[in-house]
């Protein structure tokens, strides 16, 4: 048994190293804008929820909204954006995510901890002294992706375990980390996440450790002030960065932002809040509707998740008269029904919170960026009004984060964070055309609608020909590489490359069907060959799919075509 498993484990290690390729980034030099003055003309201005100016003008100067209204004089130095019949909104605010936060490289630590009960704090996920501002990078793709949806501001949190560090509110733009920061130490970020193989390795360990650190911090803080008032004859207090990090929380100067996706997470966080008394913000709540009374009682602020479970696909019902149903079908039907009801509850959560009078913003922490507009529309279809949705994207989070004087509405004097769409944002066909972050313009080309006819079922056949760069998410972290595919008169051949081995490996059984691409390749290690299977879906010049490594599981793989030289 153990022999069987040990060898593949070694293979796997080598494999993950092998697929880690260093991709050289193209050095891109951005040219400075000609002016920092803009006039957005002839535009529907949604200044805030239920505040609309039809066909007005917005003037931006030096990163600030200078004027909003009808019939405004256009400054001579302004670049004019003819936003005819478009819509302008205040840039959206994401209450909790990791946009622009560089993910630390996971260093594979395969050694067994010597004394798992007494790990170094960092190993245990206890790093509250960390500050997310030290790991910001405006060039992260996540910034660009969120901004393209109209988000201009986000509260971002560091990576880590139960106490990753302090959060910051950032602008989703800029060219250097400092450009981004609107407010540092905006909250004390916490999770119920346990450590790997060391204490605390379970949620009960995390809860206990949280209580202990909090109380030790209160104790240390009290003693420090005692010492400060009269030092004579007293033992010097120990300097403890971890406990110090709690002080602003104990003083209620900074709230605790707690990740609380599931109902039981919400309950556990509120349990800690009740015992310890801190101000709490629940982050990325997905399943909170049965906890509303408790949330209210705890005076908790809430960011609801913009992630939703996939909607049930409408299946074409056969017009044929119902044939005698097998018991299995009836069972499946009732299960589908319960599943659909469950999905409906998630979708209706925002509306339920609204009706219960709980104020909330939204968070994108775990949402797939591309699903966010559709998810907002699903929430609206489930009972949230467009104004309520807009409030949760703009004015409410601005208030909750204490930045309402700077962002959240289209008003004179506010930071020029704007999003301009060709139709009402919540319209299914709406497209984001321009986004301003701190008065800096980002333009979005509108691609021609794809003319693919879904009815014919003949989606345009994908063209796998060419050189593709890819990324896979493996347990060892993300890794990248290059795939080359050539059409040899009807059949395909190709290679996958590796800088580690300096070798190109032949791809086998390449199959292209519609927009799906599958192939496999052998990975040679330790005197045996493992077959690795890849299955991808091509969408234009991007692909997405999975890489399966035998019984070790499947890992997501995505990539894009490199332009022809």
């Amino acid at each position: 048994m153990s022999r069987f498993y040990r060898t593949p484990r070694q293979w796997l290690l080598v494999l993950f190293c092998w697929i880690t390729l260093s991709a050289l980034a193209q050095e891109e030099v951005k040219l400075a804008p000609v002016t920092r003055t803009y006039a957005i003309t002839n535009v529907n201005i949604i200044q805030g929820p239920s505040r609309k100016v039809d066909m007005g003008t917005v003037i931006i100067r030096n990163g600030v909204i200078q004027n909003v209204g009808k019939n405004l004089a256009i400054p001579a130095d302004a670049v004019v954006i003819k936003a005819d019949s478009m819509y302008v909104y205040a840039g959206f605010i994401d209450g909790y995510s990791r946009a622009g936060v560089v993910k630390p490289k996971d260093e594979p630590n395969r050694e067994r901890p010597k004394d798992p009960g007494n790990p170094e704090p960092a190993q245990a996920g206890i790093t509250p002294q960390n500050d997310v501002r030290t790991s910001l990078n405006p060039a992260e793709k996540s910034v660009e992706d969120l901004r393209a949806l109209g988000f201009t501001t986000a509260q971002v949190v560091p990576y880590g375990g139960m106490l990753p560090g302090s959060a910051a509110i950032v602008q989703l733009g800029g060219s250097a980390a400092n450009d981004m920061v609107l407010l540092g130490n905006s909250s004390f970020y916490s999770e119920l996440t346990s450590a790997q193989r060391v204490y605390p390795s379970t949620v009960i360990g995390v809860m206990s450790k949280y209580r202990e650190l909090y109380r030790q911090a209160s104790q240390a803080k009290t003693y420090e002030s005692l010492y400060a008032s009269n030092r004579a004859g007293l033992e010097r207090p120990v300097n403890d960065k971890i406990l110090e990090a709690f002080y602003p929380v104990i003083d209620k100067r900074v709230p605790v932002l707690f990740k609380a996706e599931r109902i039981l997470d919400v309950n556990r966080v509120i349990t800690l809040q009740k015992e310890l008394g801190f101000n709490v913000v629940l982050g990325d709540v997905k399943e909170g509707w049965d906890m509303i009374n408790k949330i209210k009682a705890a005076n908790a602020r809430v960011f609801l998740s913009l992630d939703l479970p996939d909607a049930v696909k409408e299946e074409k019902k056969d017009d044929k008269k119902e044939e005698s149903k097998k018991p299995a079908d009836a069972e499946k039907e009732s299960l589908e029904k319960r599943k659909a009801e469950a999905i409906a509850q998630y979708t209706a959560q925002a509306s339920v919170f609204q009706k219960a009078g709980v104020t909330f913003g939204f968070s994108t922490a775990s949402a797939k960026t591309k699903d966010i507009p559709a998810n907002l529309r699903r929430m609206i279809a489930a009972g949230l009004t467009e104004d309520q949705a807009l409030a949760a994207l703009t004015t409410t989070p601005a208030q909750m984060l204490g930045i309402g004087d700077r962002v959240g509405t289209v008003d004179n004097g506010k930071i020029a964070n704007l999003v301009i769409t060709d139709k009402s944002y919540f319209n299914e066909k709406s497209k984001v055309r321009y986004v301003f972050v701190d008065g800096v313009l980002y333009k979005y080309d509108v691609k021609e609608e794809k003319k693919a006819d879904p009815k014919s079922g003949n989606a345009k056949k994908a063209d796998p020909n060419g050189k593709w760069s890819y990324t896979t998410e493996t347990p060892q972290g993300n890794s990248t590489g290059v795939i080359k595919i050539k059409n040899d008169g009807g059949s395909y051949s190709g290679t996958i490359t590796s800088s580690m081995s300096g070798q190109e490996t032949e791809l086998n059984s390449i199959v292209v069907e519609g927009n799906s691409l599958t192939f496999s390749f052998g990975f040679n290690a330790g005197g045996g060959t493992m077959n690795i299977e890849v299955s991808l879906t091509i969408d234009g010049s991007d692909f997405e799919g999975t890489m399966s490594v035998g019984s070790f599981g499947s890992f997501p793989m995505r990539g894009s075509k490199e332009p022809n030289k």
Binding site: P327, A328, L335, R338, S548, S551, G553, S554
Partner: protein, 434 residues
């Protein structure tokens, strides 16, 4: 404190009625001629006989009925107010193949390799396993010992729970064991994706098909060359199954897998087949019945296989299958060496829809028939093996005491290590003070 002991003593003597006769340290089985008189005899196959007698001689039941002449010199056991049943047959155990669950050195049921049908359970049965007396004194006299793991785990054998060598225990039935590739998850630790599970399943199925095809080829070559073929132990072990001479015991549980297994059996034209486990049999009971494949269902006392299933499905499973026309035997399928609980598994099935009569058959005559040993075991009939037990009530009732057990005519000593510990420690001496 002392008063408690006196009370306890009194309780034991008066209430429990246990006899502390001076027995030999290690009592042995006895053979000879016995007459069990005045009992209610549930023959299983021939109705219930009130105030009847069973005569045992030379390992066989030589007479059953109300007008029976007791042979001269027979040891007469008065069974007035008592009940006689055929020994219960458990259709799936690792008795004698395992001593201590967590200690691999005491476990002999899982050989290296996923295709090892040539591994014989009977070889590794330890006739002196501690669990054997513990099982038989509860009336479970016969057990199918089954190798575990892989795709073809080995060859199972039916044994009677008395004897000093495997051959003395052998009860005349063998089956090649196959674990039908499962589409379900193996447990909470199984975090494979649905896709991976599907692939693993397809791979296993391909392997099973490959083995079977090779076995068919081997059979053809063997027939053509009159037995002169190359040594190929795996295929040699499967040969009798291919030829329809031996049974293939297929462990299969999920409904989808059961359907796939039925299809496989039909495609391959496997003649003798038993399904074992069959925890989701109720979902596809009609299909099993139509395929005329007998099942050994169990454990009955188990959890539903799916979160959304009705809580009592495992209890009702044997009854639901029986109602659909499936031939159903019941096994305890226990991993804690508690095969003695077979009557309770049957009792639960009885309570949850199967009915007492069918459940009783499911642990006696039905497994005997499925295993092709109904001429010897499974009912109280003249000429059959004297493998039976005497008890003071319904054998499924929890409180019923089994008082005598005969296996192939041998009167079994009614002791096990567990009863010995009871005898020693009920009133420990010395007590707190030495």
């Amino acid at each position: 404190m002392k008063t408690i002991y006196i009370k306890v003593l009194a309780l034991v003597l008066v209430g429990a009625g246990l006899t502390f006769t001076s027995q030999a340290q290690s009592p042995k089985g006895k053979s000879g001629t016995f007459a069990l008189t005045g009992a209610t005899i549930e023959t299983i196959t021939k109705g219930v006989i009130q105030n009847g007698t069973v005569v045992i001689s030379d390992g066989k039941i030589t007479a059953v009925g109300t007008n029976v002449t007791i042979p001269q010199g027979a040891t007469v056991i008065d069974c007035k107010g008592k009940f006689i049943y055929p020994g219960m047959i458990d259709g799936g155990s690792i008795l004698g193949l395992s001593e201590v669950g967590s200690d691999p050195r005491t476990n002999d049921y899982n050989e290296v390799g996923d295709v090892v049908p040539q591994m014989k359970a009977l070889t590794a049965v330890n006739p002196n396993a501690v669990a054997i007396p513990i099982t038989r004194v509860s009336g479970v006299t016969t057990s199918l010992v089954v190798p575990q793991g892989g795709l073809f785990s080995g060859t199972a054998s039916l044994i009677n729970l008395h004897g000093y060598t495997p051959d003395q225990m052998y009860a005349g039935f063998d089956a090649v064991v196959m674990n039908f590739p499962a589409t379900g998850r193996r447990g909470f630790f199984d975090r494979r994706s649905d896709e991976d599970i599907k692939k693993a399943n397809e791979k296993s199925l391909a392997k099973i098909n490959e083995v079977w095809e090779k076995a068919v080829q081997y059979h053809k070559l063997d027939s053509a060359n009159k037995g002169k073929v190359e040594y190929y132990p795996q295929l040699q072990a499967i040969l009798p199954v291919v030829r329809g001479e031996q049974t293939l015991l297929i462990n299969v549980n999920a409904s989808k897998d059961i359907q796939a297994a039925i299809k496989w059996v039909q495609e391959k034209k496997v003649k003798k087949v038993i399904f074992s486990g069959v925890s989701e049999g109720w979902r596809v009971a009609d299909e099993i019945a139509k395929a005329k494949i007998p099942v050994i269902a169990g454990p009955v006392q188990s959890l539903p296989t799916r979160e959304y299933d009705r809580y009592d499905r495992p209890y009702a499973n044997p009854g639901l299958m029986r109602k659909a026309g499936v031939t159903v035997a019941i096994q305890a399928g226990d991993r804690n060496m508690n095969y003695r609980n077979l009557p309770y598994h049957a009792g639960f099935a009885a309570a949850y829809g199967m009915g007492r009569e069918e459940a009783l058959k499911a642990v006696t005559i039905v497994p005997a028939q499925i295993f092709g040993v109904a001429d010897k075991l499974g009912s109280i009939e003249t000429g059959k093996s004297a493998t039976l037990f005497v008890c003071d009530g319904d054998p499924f009732e929890t409180k019923t005491q089994v008082q005598h057990v005969f296996i192939e005519g041998w009167q079994i000593p009614m002791v096990s290590r567990q009863t010995e510990l009871y005898d020693e420690f009920l009133e420990r001496s010395p007590g707190v003070k030495k």
